[in-house]
Subunit: 428 residues, 2 copies
């Protein structure tokens, strides 16, 4: 089954928006054995959309469009497909009532252009969109199938997962597909991982298996992919490679699965051990707590935290001593240690982590340049701080500090001595 | 001048790589007054590349391809263009010597496939690539111009900036370019903005000026764009439209500029008024504090905050009364009000905001479904809470709650009575 994707929106052509919808679609379709052969990115232009759609419907078995379904005048996708299939626009009462309900709940006046959102061509199946006001459309002819989806990523993904993928599965014989296995590491850089740790992999790697390193400030994800006509067949094919990687990477592996995050893996370990976590954040300013609470069910192990951005709050809310702040400064081992201990005691947690540093771009000195961060840990058994020197970029410094702090928790609970990125422990 | 971009590489179709090359090209070309009308993303496939290239050369005045110039067998771009233009491949001695030099310096054995890297079609101008081993190619016919560039982003950008853009400028006469002005709003949806507030715009909008709404959970950015032969000329052209939008949108506008964020705008207002902000976050779990501290210099106005994820922390760190929690539950007006007041008092801040809600996916009830959020405000003059009902998506609910809370701060400081998205104030 061959597929064309048509991404619609001027913002994609002029570089305002990077086309992440298309790569997400390419990934999920490829994994289902659908071959994406052409991604068209075009603007909100009636003629070009019509020509491109006609071409795609001629070339492919499956066509998926995203974008151009909004309420504003420049959203023309529904007009084009309605004319192309020579059918009529009718208001779908169920959708209209749902949209009106959303507007009531959100206290937004319901306007004429929103009314148009409920119009659906009478020659297609509307794809009810519980995430927004623009329904998707499904056109099913013997030769070609067409899915018309909104451009808002989470709406598009929702309709794709809930409505379109099941339809493709059933119509697609699904003879061969790509299966990928993901192994996620933390606290190690891509080159260290590929050079030394997974050394010798290429020599045992069959041509039909591909291994990719997907680095992020959290760590590096390893993807092992191969094609096959059954998941079992692919599993058997890639099993030796997975075994090799697991043996070499050892404790650096935080888990498997494409979407596993460090916060999720740490959360599971905390929950399994019935430990409560608390945070005391200065330079990360809430980044860690936000990442922890992005995980559903984090209330099972996260007590909460203090964002001690000012020295005053470090003192009043975490009990950091004034004389320590004066003697060592806010960015110091002593303050990081007191912040972590204070958070654990005051929030009644088993484990607390703290960050204090110079995120930048300002505030750096010769002795404490931008990127200098102290990361503290406190539990009944352990009390120490890590000293790191990151980048000149404020946001990357927050992200890296958070990643080290979370991975430090995982390694401490699992009694792993080595700290992330080889950082040294400075005991209290 | 109209342009088609052809991005070549299987990794782009299967979702391994996001096509950032195309958006970078779209941005630089658009600002030069070149109109990108179609971006084709295709695989390393001889037939599809040939057909797509023929189509693009027919439709556009300028065609730019990226990718498929490497030394491996699946890099077929050079083969295709050579055949398409009916010319011969000859080795370019200068390029050959340069490539050999690179290999000597890197101590890599020079192989036959690398030799092919120095081959150039005799009907084009080679674009010497000092950043890598694959030269770019420039085909210049009276009708259409074609630039063939490598896919490695920094090599592509280097050749584009150094070689291709000057050629386009000269052939384009560089008479016209595009200039965009951005106006950012908050606390209002795209449709409300376009229907009621900027009502009547389309009637006064000259054809050569385009207005686009770029919605996000933070609010909606309005982009006003026009082409002209000088920035001054474009400024004069779009000035009446900007004036109209500013008059209609009024207090909904938080500022101008492409990258302005709500947290930045609120931060400036806090700093100007010498107000200190504190946060008390339950369902947003640090999202607000993280957004506030993403802004350099936020230590001038952000005291810090408490992430009161558990009821225990709401009580011990913010002074929320146990009986209130028992009587009304954590997700209630009373708790939101006490959280905000507690944060202001304990963190010694002028203004405090709080969030408590059911982010989901679990925890919803008939009376308090997922997406139910109370957002509290406290200052000496004002003490109230907003009740909102957002989506079923956990992360979106955090983002929306944070956006309402921050915009609420901006409007209160500026004495604007209307609350974001028309939410009603529930006074203490």
């Amino acid at each position: 089954m061959q597929c064309h994707i048509i991404s619609i929106g001027n913002e994609l052509l002029i570089g305002d928006t990077v086309n992440t919808n298309a790569s997400w679609l390419g990934d999920v379709l490829t994994n289902m054995g659908v071959e994406v052969t052409h991604i068209h990115t075009i603007g909100d232009n009636y003629g070009i959309l019509k020509r491109t759609l006609e071409h795609a419907l001629e070339q492919a078995d499956l066509v998926i469009t995203t974008g151009g379904l909004g309420p504003t005048h420049d959203d023309i996708t529904k007009k084009v497909v309605t004319e192309l299939f020579g059918c009529e626009l009718n208001v779908d009462e169920e959708i209209l009532n749902f949209i009106k309900k959303i507007f009531r709940e959100r206290n937004i006046p319901f306007s004429k252009s929103n009314y148009h959102q409920a119009e659906v061509p009478d020659c297609c199946e509307p794809l009810f969109n519980t995430q927004g006001t623009a329904p998707g459309l499904w056109f099913d002819s013997d030769r070609t199938k067409l899915a018309v989806l909104p451009g808002v990523p989470y709406e598009m993904k929702h309709l794709m997962n809930e409505k379109v993928l099941p339809k493709i599965k059933s119509s697609n014989g699904n003879t061969t597909f790509r299966y990928s296995h993901y192994i996620t590491t933390a606290g190690v850089g891509e080159s260290t991982l590929s050079d030394t740790i997974i050394e010798g992999l290429s020599s045992i790697l069959p041509k039909e298996i591909s291994v990719a390193y997907l680095p992020s400030p959290q760590g590096t994800r390893i993807r092992i992919s191969a094609y096959g006509n059954s998941q079992k067949a692919v599993d058997e094919k890639i099993e030796p490679v997975i075994a090799h990687i697991k043996e070499k990477a050892g404790y650096l592996i935080i888990g498997e699965g494409k979407d596993l995050t460090l916060a999720q893996s740490v959360g599971e370990i905390l929950a399994d051990n019935k430990f409560w976590l608390a945070t005391a954040e200065s330079c990360t300013g809430g980044y860690i707590a936000n990442a922890v609470t992005d995980i559903p069910g984090s209330s099972r192990y996260f007590k909460g935290g203090v964002n001690a951005y000012s020295n005053e709050v470090k003192t009043t809310q975490l009990g950091v001593r004034k004389d320590t702040l004066e003697k060592h400064g806010a960015v110091s081992k002593a303050v990081a240690l007191q912040m972590a201990k204070g958070a654990a005691k005051r929030l009644n947690a088993d484990i607390a982590i703290s960050t204090t540093g110079i995120a930048g771009p300002g505030g750096g000195t010769d002795k404490k340049p931008v990127g200098t961060v102290w990361i503290g840990f406190y539990s009944e058994k352990r009390h120490f701080a890590l000293h790191a020197r990151f980048t000149n970029d404020r946001l990357i410094n927050k992200e890296r500090s958070a990643a080290v702090a979370l991975e430090m928790v995982r390694r401490c609970i699992l009694d792993i001595d080595e700290m992330p990125y080889g950082l040294k422990k400075n005991e209290a």
